[in-house]
Chain length 237, copies 2
């Protein structure tokens, strides 16, 4: 079971247990309050991660910033990694909404390249989010015990999150799971590297450099299947 | 004056001061001993940075691992950033030797692409080095007070280090300082992003993906000048 699923499971259990007959009628339903607590904790986590970095951020501080107890935090999230994955899921859900609005079944290949590229350029402007992604990977590399599990979980969350918009991007919907993982790896490599270096030295990467690299990435990842089919066709001749 | 120059300046001063008439004849020259101490401290810094990460690494621990005092460390390096820049200089000097052996004035464009690409693939296998670069940039982004100064110093050290091999790569030797900084930014963006993601999830980036991205980068950066000249020629028609 995924950590995120586990925390939802805990959420369901906790709301059942605390639904007591003494609850005042005017209070919001327990389920809503639990969801609000979870959201407050997520918002606090974003702030504390941005301030202290993923590695140094403490769950105590996140609970305090959210105005909750450590116990409340553990009702919703098993650990810091679990919190991070919940944030990615939230990000992907928001991204999906943006795509859905801009693409239709009639969109052309050029439309798709334009929408995806524009979205990635926008994403690079979200410094806190990009740095959190980079830091999470750095943290996992320095504590390699669970690396394989976390990398697989990360790939799964990205793949399943992305799957919601696949109808509108036929090039991705044709990919196998392994190909989607590679697409994710290539997107990550380009975005993480651009983010880190454009924030570190803005004079070292111009806006044109960034735009060109992103368009190159999107073209290449959308076209991968056809490139690989052509390569295979050549070999089998 | 560069931090690295400052530390060499301090080194010269310190060796002058400690050259006392009571020194035993059998001991190595003071200058050599000072250089050996500096090298021991650099080697210890690499180990401690790899173990604790750049941010958490403590100068006390580096001195202890090198078997030196904190005072000895401060004779050679002003701070942790100064130590990092000394490590980059050492890395670039080693890289230059590798290039010099593989390129001649008769090398063709294809030879240069091959040698540079091969070297960058090799560099990506040096996990400690790549992660130290990523971490240093993350550290600077989280402590932005000196960001501009450090980014400029970083660009200067990379540019001057690279300048030693420019004779053998005419495409780079034609670049202005600003263009070289952009070349550095593009190299950094590609390498940092590939390193982080291939270490984090080896299944997400295949060896072919890595090779293809690096060759694309090298081609593009060597050809930049001609691409931009063509673009300019088109505009001025």
């Amino acid at each position: 079971m995924l950590d995120a699923e586990k925390s939802r499971e805990r959420l369901r259990k906790s709301t059942t247990v605390s639904r007591r007959p003494t609850a005042r009628k005017a209070a919001p339903p327990v389920q809503d309050r639990a969801l609000q607590t979870r959201q407050d904790l997520l918002d606090a986590a974003r702030r504390v991660f941005a301030r202290d970095g993923f590695e140094l951020a403490r769950l105590e501080d996140i609970a305090r910033v959210a105005g909750k107890t450590r116990g409340a935090l553990y009702t919703h999230f098993a650990n810091k990694e679990d919190l991070f994955f919940a944030l990615i899921e939230e990000d992907i859900a928001r991204d999906t909404e943006i795509y859905v609005k801009q693409l239709t079944p009639e969109s052309t290949f050029e439309d798709r390249v334009k929408v995806i590229s524009g979205h990635l350029e926008e994403l690079l402007r979200d410094r806190k989010r990009m740095l959190l992604y980079v830091e999470f990977k750095m943290y996992v590399l320095r504590h390699p015990t669970n690396q394989k599990r976390l990398a697989e979980l990360h790939a799964k969350i990205c793949r399943e999150g992305a799957a919601r918009k696949l109808d509108l991007i036929p090039e991705f919907s044709c990919q196998t799971d392994a190909e989607r993982r590679r697409t994710g790896g290539n997107f990550g490599a380009t975005l993480d590297g651009l983010a880190l270096n454009m924030y570190f030295d803005p004079e070292g990467l111009t806006a044109e450099d960034v735009r060109r690299r992103i368009q190159q990435l999107v073209h290449e990842q959308l076209l991968r299947q056809s490139i690989e089919e052509e390569a295979e066709a050549l070999v089998s001749k």
